[in-house]
């Protein structure tokens, strides 16, 4: 079973506005759908990009998240109460499916990502790529919840409170999950370094 939650108290948009926006989106109003897309696409893209690291796949998955939202709004398959939590939950499922299916390209193809600081030497870039790949491999060895918490907290910079609301867990549970995830990550990194 996959436990999710759709907290009612957390919305980046004013609750009344959000309710109104949801109602308009359920009616497939283009302006409402466009507003939701503009508001949330960048965060969803970054989230997926961190976890998949394949530009084309990232675009496909991020786009699919919003088409799934359209499905949910239109067919009421999964009730949407908190748009952001719903989008991140769906993004997480799609990313996990993608990882499980080994659909993404090998990590070794980590390309010349724009995050590499300008002016770095080729040696630094190679070292950076190697380190990044090692961390990403180690992260994929964690449980889905652990991957989710590390991505939201340290790749997306969400606070504990925001992470708890997105994941539908208590703050205490997220803190404990985070701590264990970091411990496990460290072990996997050490294990990877020895191999």
């Amino acid at each position: 079973m996959v436990y999710t939650s759709y907290p009612l108290t957390f919305e980046p948009i004013h609750p009344t506005t959000a309710d109104n926006l949801l109602a308009r989106a359920q009616a497939l109003e283009p302006a409402a759908l466009s507003q939701i897309h503009t508001e949330y696409y960048p965060a969803i893209y970054r989230y997926v990009a961190y976890r998949l690291n394949d530009e084309q796949l990232v675009e496909d998955v991020a786009g699919e998240v919003f088409l799934r939202l359209l499905d949910a709004l239109h067919n009421r398959l999964r009730p949407v109460r908190d748009i952001r939590a719903w989008l991140f939950g769906t993004a997480s499922h799609l990313v996990n499916d993608s990882l499980r299916n080994k659909y993404r390209k090998p990590l070794e193809t980590l390309d010349d990502h724009e995050s590499i600081p300008v002016g770095e030497t080729p040696e630094h870039i190679a070292e950076f790529n190697e380190r990044s790949a090692a961390v990403r491999v180690a992260i994929t060895a964690l449980t889905e919840d652990q991957q989710q918490v590390l991505t939201l907290r340290f790749a997306m910079d969400y606070s504990i409170e925001e992470t708890a609301k997105i994941m539908g867990k208590s703050i205490g549970a997220v803190k404990t999950l985070q701590f264990r995830a970091l411990g496990s990550l460290r072990r996997y990194l050490e294990q990877g370094a020895k191999e």
Partner: protein, 300 residues
């Protein structure tokens, strides 16, 4: 050290790292825990260092937005035009059931039995649908509502068969099991579908499922597929049993799997809403379980 204290120390350490302190300086503040905290904080820093860019490709965003809006437009175009009376009844059912009963009884009195035999495209057909919608909003057991829904689904298929006999050209909505014959033809129960090539992949996905279909009937008795989706059932009621593998809501039992999305683990006595689909053996598979006050309409 307890988890709570470790978490507190981690919070403090993270704040200091984010404020610009070095790892060694942070660890030096609590030397007794430095050995425990070092690997944890090094992991955090490793993740931070691999964060990558915050840049989102504008072209990707534009493409995604266009796909979303085009898909929304396509769905809007496929939506059946709602009869004004149907909409009126739907809006008022939560206000006063008795008033709606009166309206329906009076309306049925006027239209008589003719509406019961109406087919899509007939003047009284919207009345027939409105009466069905009304019965589904009555406060009855979930199993009763489910049985009514099944009988209405059967009625839709019989209507389509009647229209095929008339060689009618009209838009129809019906349900059934999607199958593919050996010669590659798609059927929903006994109704043959006309499918464009771009829909084949979609149909493969739904093959074998109990589906909801929107189609245009052709004079040759085939149905030109306009839209298809899994037939969903929304069941609301009180949790009677839940053991992780099955859930009983009122007198309806649903299968629960690891793919079931659960808002909060249901406990006996809770009011829940369950979105479900048919399994191959005619049972119900829970897709989503949510808590909350049950709406008046248990099955829509």
């Amino acid at each position: 050290m307890k988890d709570q204290e470790l978490n507190h120390l981690l919070d403090e350490s993270l704040a200091r790292l984010q404020a610009g302190e070095t790892l060694e300086a942070v660890l030096a503040r609590n030397p007794e825990w430095a050995a425990d905290m070092r690997p944890i904080l090094e992991s955090v820093m490793a993740v931070w260092q691999t964060r990558g860019s915050d840049t989102v490709p504008v072209a990707a965003m534009v493409r995604s937005r266009e796909r979303l809006l085009v898909e929304a437009q396509r769905r809007r175009a496929l939506e059946p035009r709602r009869n004004p009376l149907f909409a009126w009844l739907s809006n008022f059912r939560t206000v006063t059931v008795s008033a709606v009963i009166l309206v329906v009884v009076l309306t049925l009195g006027v239209t008589g039995l003719s509406s019961l035999n109406a087919l899509p495209g007939d003047p009284f057909y919207p009345m027939k649908l409105a009466a069905e919608t009304f019965t589904l909003s009555l406060p009855v057991k979930a199993s009763v509502r489910l049985a009514w829904q099944d009988s209405y689904d059967l009625r839709r298929r019989q209507e389509v068969e009647g229209l095929i006999g008339r060689h009618s050209e009209v838009e129809v909505h019906f349900t059934g099991h999607l199958t593919k014959s050996e010669d590659g033809r798609w059927m929903v129960d006994e109704i043959p579908l006309v499918v464009t090539d771009d829909r084949i992949a979609l149909l493969e996905k739904y093959n074998g499922r109990f589906v909801y279909v929107v189609a245009d009937l052709l004079t040759d008795g085939q149905a030109y597929l306009e839209g298809i989706d899994t037939r969903l059932y929304e069941i609301t009621g009180e949790v009677k049993e839940f053991d992780g593998a099955s859930l009983r809501v009122d007198d309806v039992t649903l299968l629960v799997t690891h793919d079931t999305l659960i808002d909060m683990p249901p406990t006996v006595g809770d009011a829940v809403t369950v979105t479900s689909m048919r399994t191959g053996d005619g049972g119900l598979l829970a897709l989503w379980i949510g808590k909350g006050p049950a709406p008046q309409s248990g099955l829509k």
